[in-house]
Symmetry: C2
Subunit: 172 residues, 2 copies
């Protein structure tokens, strides 16, 4: 079977990067969603405090703590907002998400948006999506069992790499 150059090239890139992290997998999935007119979801840029600029080159700057989550966008007319994190443990330490990010997700839920987290258990090679209403914010850790009970397992596929909207659709 012959593919046009473009598709073949995409295949090569995808295979090469397959070992990469959750953020990358979500980004390429979002590109797929955008190109296939399924959703418009972007990762927000990292907030940086620029101190010095010479000739358009930033020579001094600091990373800032983000006020909101990493990802937001639009899916089937609905506002979507989420944070994505990896853990090597068989539980998710809630301190991995800033308290103001959790507060933000709760606000989104209260205003009629869809707020959730995506957690990758790197050792188990499993990804879960869980709506924010299942998290109080007072937990120190969330167990894998809890994700299995209240979350949705996201199976990794070829394209989109991480079809989290398919799982989201079933619970909203």
């Amino acid at each position: 079977m012959k593919y046009p150059t473009g598709i073949n090239q995409t295949y090569k890139i995808s295979t090469k990067n397959r070992g990469m992290n959750l953020e990358h997998d979500i980004n390429v999935s979002n590109e797929y969603y955008l190109q296939n007119n399924i959703a418009v979801i972007y990762k927000k840029p990292t907030p940086i405090n620029v101190v010095k600029v010479n000739d358009n080159i930033i020579t001094k700057a600091y990373f800032k703590t983000p006020s909101t989550t990493d990802y937001n966008g639009l899916y089937q007319g609905k506002y979507i907002d989420f944070e994505a994190k990896e853990t090597k443990y068989e539980y998710f330490p809630l301190k991995n998400i800033h308290s103001h990010q959790l507060k933000h997700l709760k606000q989104i839920q209260n205003h009629g948006g869809i707020a959730f987290i995506i957690v990758r258990f790197t050792t188990l090679k499993q990804n879960y999506l869980m709506l924010i209403n299942h998290i109080t914010g007072d937990e120190t850790r969330i167990t894998l069992e809890y994700f299995k009970k209240y979350g949705k397992l996201i199976t990794e596929t070829f394209n989109p790499r991480l079809d989290y909207l398919k799982e989201l659709k079933e619970i909203i």
Copy 2:
């Protein structure tokens, strides 16, 4: 009349910054919306390509062209997305908005979101909000008359500084 320290301080800051630019006025309006539980709308961080970091201090970085618009968020269960620009002319040069930003706003509209621009005519001291469906993207400039006809004038008030959601509400 006596104010608690916090409120008094806010008043002082507001007065001092009154001459500042459109971005600032939108940011403080968004803070007002958030604090009063009206909407959750944030400015996205400026995208920066970080090249060198020493001890958490960025020592070399470049500004990147943004892929999307500056502002998005959630208002009454609806996805909101917009770009804000100033012009000193009595028309708005469309090149002030990147073509991929216009494309992004059109995509948002097609996916059931609310997409618009806010333009400040600095010489006239007037601000207009206009939904993206009134812009084809082929215009080189949009006249003030066109904004008057198809947009909504946003009157500057004390708090929120720029109550653009009040105007938006009337046209959606």
